[in-house]
Amino acid sequence: MKHSTPSATRARPAERKEPFTTVSGRVIGPLYTADDVSSLNYERDLGDPGEFPYTRGIHASGYRGKLWTMRQFAGFGAPEETNERYKQLLAAGGTGLSVAFDLPTLMGRDPDHPLSLGEVGKCGVSVSSLADMEVLFRGIELGGITSSMTINSPASMILAMYLVVAEKQGASWQGLSGTLQNDILKEFIAQKEYIYPPRPSMRLVTDIFRFCAEHVPKWNTISVSGYHIREAGSTAAQELAFTLRDGVEYVQYGIDAGLDVDEFAPRISFFFNAHSDFFEEIAKYRAARRMWAHVMRDRFKAKDPRSWKLRFHAQTAGVSLTVQQPYNNVVRTALQALAPVLGGGQSLHTNSLDEAFALPTAEAATLALRTQQIIAYETGVTDVTDPLGGSYFVEKLTRDLEEEALAYFDAIDRMGGMVEAIERGYPQKEIAESAYAYQRGVEAGDRIVVGVNAYVADTEEPIPLLYIDQSAAETQLARLAEVKATRDDAAVRRALDRLRAGATADANTMPLLLDAVRAYATLGEMCDVLREVWGEYEEIPVI
């Protein structure tokens, strides 16, 4: 039914443009009425908050019981500098930590590798051995906070370092809580920070599922991420579809590895973008919950309701930030942040106004946190659960996004799954098409970006920026040299040999990595062992 409402068929006065579309290119009608949602059944399709299919939220009490976690992603330079920023963020009322690693760490390279030249500590904090991790969390009780770590290909090694730091602090793994991004599929699809080919990469993921189910039961073992897919240029529906289909792939691989679905599925969490198109974003979160509930109950026959509930973190859209008139970014971020709050998210990161230029200054990062606090405490939007539930427009959008995403599910299922679709370059190509279409829209003037292609300022004052000099690289190279000089090399060699043997056979890699970490094997050394065994992935470049 396409807006066959009485009001839509009546003659309308001239409109400002034709057609009206969302930032994803979805055509939006002038008015939505009961006719648009007549196929919806409240019990079946919405349900009260806390009830299947969780369209209206996973908690009966919404934010009246507990606010979302205000989790600001941070990391830069050497671990000493980031440790100081964490202490500031916690003192300013932040309620969880979120670690941003630099590119060498994300790619499993030590600071002294030739490819690390110029990149150490630039885009995040540099961590190459247990010694760095000990400095990163110095003076922070890991048993008393939750930490999110954005790490994918070397996720197991970084988790092992975190667990050993906790062990040394005397914190029990059983009580330890936090999140590992550990989502390698979206790396192949969008962010491209992969090391190994897809299949051994998926084995590392399922090794973590199995290990944590037993030893670190409160740890969120994966954060299935649409954020990067959206930043790479996808539409909202593509973000929804590819992210949830990635989730399906992880569950399938876990089951194929011999795990019981209810043993690991409750620890799967999600991470979505909070882009500028307000209602489309809210509908996306609501559709995601409904789709996941059905997938888990109907496709995978999960019995535990915790397996049905989609919990998500959101981050405002970095790609929407502009270098022109950067203070406008504060306003963009505030409006974007409102969408996941109205969409029932569990955790949120708000970007800083200076992030189109550099990593944020401490002042900019504090302002971004204040933005969340103002939404939480001053606007009143947290007083009622799913305040937009029942809106003709929002419910119709929710259904439309779900249908579009389910069509992608069918296409990917026909290819044999997401790993197969990635190997064919399918999601990569779909996203590239959307990115190009969007950019042409901006340049044709069909899309207004304030300060960029409209309301342009003649002159602009520079804003203060964080500058990361070479001292971080020097600190890191010095510590790495010291680690290598003082550790027991024979113990490192033995641990790495056991890792090689275990990876070649079918052993769970996690206990082997923990031993290597305890012996102060470096990240690069551990990753290199697996490179020898599994090889490296190379993408066929397409434009």
Binding site: L115, E119, V319, A432, Q439, V452, Y467, E539, I543
Partner: protein, 136 residues
Amino acid sequence: MEHKIRVVIAKPGLDGHDRGARVIARALRDAGMEVIYTGLRQTPEQIVSTALQEDADVIGLSILSGAHMHICPRIMSLLEAEGLSDVLVVVGGIIPDPDIPKLNEIGVRGIFLPGTTMQHIVDYITEHVRSRVETS
């Protein structure tokens, strides 16, 4: 037959964020240029070798990670060593203002910051490549 401008688009460094590189590659191709996209994580040596093999008129680098002051000087000196100093080198990405004159000084010509239109880049390349051909 009119000579098609040959452009090598490359992503040096460890960063994998290739949205910009791919969108620009498409735009240049749609503008009638011959575009060779190298893919990710290219060393300066690989990029210069591709430019040589492909007889490139232009090298377009996409750098977002802050490593440009390490990567660009290396590429410029390799180009010189190969006798390719007449290749137009342009950079797109996140480049702090103080680094722009430094990059210009070593011979990087066009520097395109966030918000630059695809059309502007097409025009810039068309204009500056022509002048190179005329003077050679």
